[in-house]
């Protein structure tokens, strides 16, 4: 089986090519079969490879498909490398990917760009698989840029609306800032170590660099730049909420379950570099902490169902960064896994809600959907429970591991732990706010477009098998996925997982109770029977107070980061481009021709035809020349 590993990305790539070359002439059935089927094949293969891998003692292996480039000391192949970490990733990508493809065949059924949609999706899965399978950083970079491109194409999938295009461009450009930092990191690593093979780097770096040396710090900081871009962490997080402009399955697959966790994967993959640079690793932890809190507060203020989930994604990846920062590599990967389940579930359920309500996104225009959208309701309950880390859901185990590891941090343990727990409280608050507002209380839903046909106008939940089955599987995984143990201990042999809880019983109990408290407060504010009265009154009181209003606006806007970048970077660039449209260099050279023309017209004036003037200038010239000669 291991020799077939090259087929993993090849299936979806072939699907992409077929769909592109068909130029939209395929029927939707065929396109759907190719689109979802190719990823399904990858998943089957991934499962078979996993079984063989685990049965044969989990020995990492690599397979070179072909030589990519060999220049001087640079020796790079299309080489795939498989170990426990990669295994987890390929299973998530192809498994969750397949479920989302399947769901999309239902979700996108009425879209004229059906085949185009699946072609981009397939290309995405292929790129993402290459990213995690790559044995060297250039190949990883290929996948890295490939997923970025697909993300761009899919965010702007509905290209009629310029706003979608703007969101897509923003996503690509902002992440490219990070990508460029990562590319520079690659140049640095190569110039220092003479290789870009990941395993060789991990072996060489500790022998050549001392802990905390400048090179190690620079290299890991540059890689971190790439990671925060892709994973939407501070300060490059601004693109992700806007990325929700794409069709909802995209948000589930790319902007929740897989691509945005690439940064986490990158850091986990190169964890030895980060261990050599403790200062950078500490920054990772604090980036995670700051991001998870910032995004948590922001999520609480959003009205758009997808934006809430987007900020929640940013926040949850913040937890993964926190775990990476305290060296709990396995916990980070574990949370990546469970997050992929419950966040994909939440997004797909949100997709069903949105589809059933004719593209209504505002949660305050929904309400009381519990009975009308039962499937979505139960999915949201399960997903939110896991997101909130209520006991015995999958999210509980992974978040628990992260917080305990954070507490163990030698110097900042308490600070990181308190921040993380506060984040967990916020998570409970905003996730159940969403649940209560959408599914409980009174219905605020109004038909926006009354001219639609009657059968389109009613709120009917789409529960076709293609859409129901993925939800069911993901719901089961969200509940019980915490029982999976990720086979990554061998990968992080030297950075062992948190062995035993050093937290006191009291702190541990607190960790479990605080999310439950969050749910209860959320119920008081948004869910109780008095929600329409008392809750609304209370909320109004909070918003009317000067501080509350300010915070509301501040948090709603994502802490003003967009505005900041707009003022500091975008506007000056646009102004500069505008001013210099004509290219000042060109003007400099053209001025030569003006000088020539001016001299020409000036000299033309001397040609008067007046004999006396000619004689005088002759004599004057003679006098001057002689005078100059005498003077010397």
């Amino acid at each position: 089986m291991q020799n077939w590993i090259g087929l993993l990305p090849a299936f979806p790539l072939a699907g992409f090519l077929l769909l592109v070359l068909s130029r939209g002439r395929m029927t939707k059935t065929v396109a759907g079969i190719i689109g979802a089927g190719s990823v399904g094949l990858s998943f089957l293969l991934a499962v078979m490879i996993s079984i063989e891998f685990l049965n044969s003692g989990a020995q990492p292996f690599s397979k070179t498909l072909w030589m990519w480039m060999q220049v001087g000391g640079l020796d790079t192949g299309f080489t795939f490398f498989l170990d426990g970490l990669t295994l987890v990733m390929i299973l998530i990508i192809s498994g969750v990917g397949f479920l989302i493809h399947l769901y999309s065949t239902g979700f996108m059924a009425d879209d004229p760009g059906f085949a185009r949609f699946f072609s981009y999706m397939n290309l995405f899965v292929a790129s993402m698989l290459v990213l995690v399978l790559a044995d060297n950083l250039i190949l990883l970079y290929l996948g890295w840029e490939g997923v970025g491109l697909c993300s761009y194409l899919l965010i702007g999938f509905w290209y009629d609306n310029p706003a979608n295009g703007y969101a897509a461009r923003k996503a690509f450009v902002v992440t490219r800032v990070g990508d460029t930092s990562m590319a520079i990191g690659l140049f640095l690593l190569f110039s220092q170590l003479g290789t870009l093979n990941i395993q060789e780097i991990l072996l060489l770096a500790p022998t050549q660099w001392s802990t905390g040396s400048a090179v190690a710090v620079a290299a890991s900081a540059l890689l971190l730049g790439g990671a925060v871009g892709k994973s939407a962490q501070l300060p490059l997080q601004t693109w992700l909420p806007d990325a929700m402009a794409g069709p909802t399955p995209i948000s589930a697959l790319i902007h929740a379950a897989t691509m945005v966790t690439a940064g986490v994967y990158l850091i986990a993959r190169t964890h030895i570099l980060f261990e050599l640079a403790p200062s950078v690793q500490l920054i990772v932890a604090f980036v995670g902490l700051a991001t998870l809190l910032m995004a948590g507060f922001t999520a609480l203020m959003q009205r758009d169902i997808k934006r809430i989930l987007a900020y929640s994604t940013i926040s949850q990846i913040g937890y993964m960064f926190l775990a990476l920062g305290v060296g709990a590599w396995s916990a980070a990967v574990f949370h990546l896994l469970t997050h992929a389940f419950f966040k994909a579930l939440l997004f797909l359920a949100a997709g069903t809600v949105i589809l059933s309500l004719h593209h209504e996104h505002d949660i305050f225009k929904m309400g009381a959907m519990r009975r009308r959208l039962p499937v979505s309701f139960w999915c949201f309950i399960v997903g939110s429970a896991a997101l909130t880390a209520l006991p015995f859901t999958s999210g509980f185990y992974s978040k628990d591991a992260i917080l305990l590891a954070a507490l163990d941090h030698p110097s900042y343990g308490m600070l990181l732990w308190v921040g993380g727990v506060l984040g967990a409280f916020m998570t409970a608050l905003y996730s159940f706010r969403l649940v209560f507002v959408v599914f409980f209380g009174k219905s605020h839903y109004e038909q926006r477009d009354t001219q639609q046909h009657d059968d389109h106008g009613a709120v009917v939940e789409n529960t076709s098998p293609a859409m129901f089955f993925p939800l069911l599987i993901l719901a089961i995984l969200s509940l019980f996925g915490g029982l999976i143990s990720v086979p990554v201990d061998a990968v992080f042999a030297n950075g062992a997982l948190h062995e035993e809880a050093h937290a006191s019983q009291f702190l541990h109990a607190l960790m479990i109770l605080i999310p439950i408290l969050g749910v209860m407060i959320s119920w008081l504010l948004y869910g109780s029977l008095s929600y329409e009265k008392a809750g609304a009154h209370l909320r109004k009181q909070l918003l009317v107070s000067p501080l509350g209003g300010l915070l509301n606006r501040f948090w709603f806007s994502g802490w003003g980061m967009d505005k900041l970048y707009q003022t500091l970077l975008v506007q000056p660039f646009l102004a500069l481009a505008q001013v210099n449209r004509k290219d000042i260099v060109d003007l400099v050279f053209n001025s030569l021709s003006y000088v020539a023309r001016f001299a020409n017209s000036a000299l033309v004036l001397t040609q008067t035809g007046n004999m006396r003037w000619y004689a005088i200038s002759l004599v004057a010239g003679l006098v001057i020349v002689i005078g100059l000669g005498v003077w010397r």
Binding site: V20, R23, G24, W66, M67, W68, M69, Q70, V71, G72, L74, F78, I138, Y141, L142, E145, G146, L149, Y152, G156, Y159, D160, P162, G165, Y166, A168, R169, F172, V173, R176, V177, D179, T180, A183, I184, L186, F187, L188, F190, S191, F573, L576, A577, Q578, N580, R581, D583, V585, D586, F589, N590
Partner: protein, 497 residues
């Protein structure tokens, strides 16, 4: 021999094409196609059946041939093909065919004379890539200039006279510097060895010291850098490119710019290693500046051809960067960038030309949302824009990555600034995609029934796209060809620079 046959085929083909117009207006393009196909076949047969001749100087020349020409001044018809030349020759003939495809339906006036100029330009380029006698080199340098001037001046767009004159003046003035430098080299050879020589291998033996080396090097540099062009000497290019007919833009961007880079690699650095070494930090700074500056100016353009023209200058910055890194990574990167940019920019200019011929405008403010109307053309535009952004898996990435990788080893600061160009490339490329392809459909009313790609166009784009994928996925087949030449050139300068 092959070189002479190649040049002769093109020269003679051009003459016949011109004459054949008297028979039928459709004849010239057929003649041009035939002579290009013959050249292509010759070149392919040659490259498949030959390899480096171990006995040649440096052991990397595939052929090296010499005929006497003006012995009194040591001028000979000395030509040579090594891996570097061969790759560029293949690119030239390939893009010649593409340019022919672009001109096929577009050129309707003075057809014979057009194809004459087209073929003579290509012949000049072939000469430039093979001449090893600097006098002969300069001869071909001029041969490729004048027909291109005529192509712009006669078949260009609304502002063609201005653009053509500007192109001519820039090239001519910079050519003067080149000529002076070449003549001084020959004279120095006379002083040191008591005979004139323009022979590349003879000139390597001249002992050059101090500022003299720097001045002569600068002469070569200005000549080649104007052609490349570098930041500061680039302002002829946006006018020439945007005013030239499509075939002219394709050849200009795809091939003519590369003669400048070729000159730097072949002559300017290896003949003056010490001077180039101390000059390298200046050149790399110019490169980084050009990448960023021209990317920014490109973003502001409204004329789609001007925009692509500025991106060309920006991308040539990576070539300059790679060359002056003067290690194998940088050089291979420069060569790969030349090849890949040759294809991608040619395709983009052809797409812009396609839009112009369909909608009679190049103004992006008047073109919007074409995806809905011209899906195939739009898909191609998307593909080649993505290639130009430097997407891994396509040729441009390999070139830019290797250039930067090499440059980082000799000048990390300039490299970091140059790498920021990757971000700006995304900014302007995505902006074009948004403006022209996405959004709601908007085209000038009178041309709203424009058709999607024709068969000839599909063929051209498909070939170029395949080429880029090949370069991106298996660049080794190109890297292997050029490696020996680049190692030889490095050895000339003792690895310095």
């Amino acid at each position: 021999m092959i070189v002479l046959i190649l040049v002769a085929t093109l020269f003679v083909g051009g003459a016949i094409a011109w004459a054949s117009e008297a028979l039928d207006a459709r004849m010239p393009r057929v003649v041009a196609l035939l002579s290009l196909l013959v050249s292509a076949v010759l070149l392919l047969v040659f490259s498949l059946n030959s390899g480096p001749d171990v006995g040649s100087p440096g052991g990397q020349w595939w052929i090296l041939a010499s005929w006497s020409w003006i012995p009194r001044f040591g001028i000979a018809l000395l030509v040579g093909v090594d891996g570097l030349s061969l790759l560029l020759l293949l690119l030239t003939i390939f893009l010649g065919l593409i340019a022919l495809g672009a001109a096929w339906d577009e050129i309707k006036e003075r057809v014979g004379f057009f194809y004459f100029n087209l073929l003579w330009t290509i012949a000049g380029v072939v000469g430039v890539f093979t001449a090893l006698d600097l006098f002969l080199f300069f001869f071909f340098w001029e041969v490729m200039l004048i027909p291109m001037y005529l192509i712009i001046a006669i078949w260009g767009h609304e502002n063609r006279a201005y653009a053509a004159m500007k192109f001519f003046l820039y090239t001519q003035v910079s050519g003067l510097f080149l000529l002076m430098a070449i003549l001084s080299m020959s004279y120095l050879h006379y002083v040191q060895f008591a005979r004139f020589s323009f022979d590349y291998f003879d000139l390597q033996n001249i002992a050059l010291v101090g500022s003299l080396q720097t001045w002569i090097m600068l002469g070569f540099f200005v000549g080649f850098a104007t052609k490349l062009p570098i930041f500061g000497l680039h302002s002829w290019l946006p006018d020439a490119h945007s005013q030239a007919p499509t075939a002219g833009s394709v050849l200009l961007a795809g091939v003519l710019l590369k003669t400048g880079a070729y000159g730097l690699i072949r002559f300017a650095v290896p003949l003056f290693p010490e001077a180039s070494d101390s000059f390298s930090s200046v050149a790399m700074t110019i490169a980084a500046l050009g990448i960023l500056y021209c990317a920014k100016v490109a973003f502001a353009q409204q004329d789609i051809k001007r925009l692509i023209a500025y991106t060309s200058v920006s991308h040539m910055g990576f070539v300059l960067l790679g060359i002056y890194a003067w290690n194998l990574y940088g050089l291979q990167g420069a060569v790969m960038t030349m090849l890949a940019h040759g294809l991608s920019s040619a395709a983009l200019f052809m797409l812009a030309g396609g839009l112009q011929s369909r909608f009679h405008t190049r103004d992006m403010r008047q073109l919007n949302g074409l995806w809905a109307k011209l899906p195939m053309l739009s898909a191609m535009a998307l593909f080649f824009s993505v290639a130009a952004v430097g997407m891994p898996g396509l040729g441009n990435f390999i070139g830019e990555f290797l250039s930067l990788l090499g440059a980082f080893q000799s000048n990390p600061v300039a490299t970091i600034f140059a790498a920021l160009g990757l971000v700006l490339a995304a900014v302007y490329s995505l902006w074009v995609i948004q403006k022209v392809l996405h959004g709601s459909l908007q085209v000038p009313n009178e041309y709203s029934n424009a058709a999607d790609l024709s068969l000839v166009e599909i063929l051209c784009y498909a070939l170029m796209a395949l080429g880029l994928v090949w370069m991106g996925m298996y660049p080794q087949s190109f890297l292997d060809v050029s490696e020996a030449s680049l190692l030889y050139l490095q050895s000339l300068s003792g690895g310095a620079a």
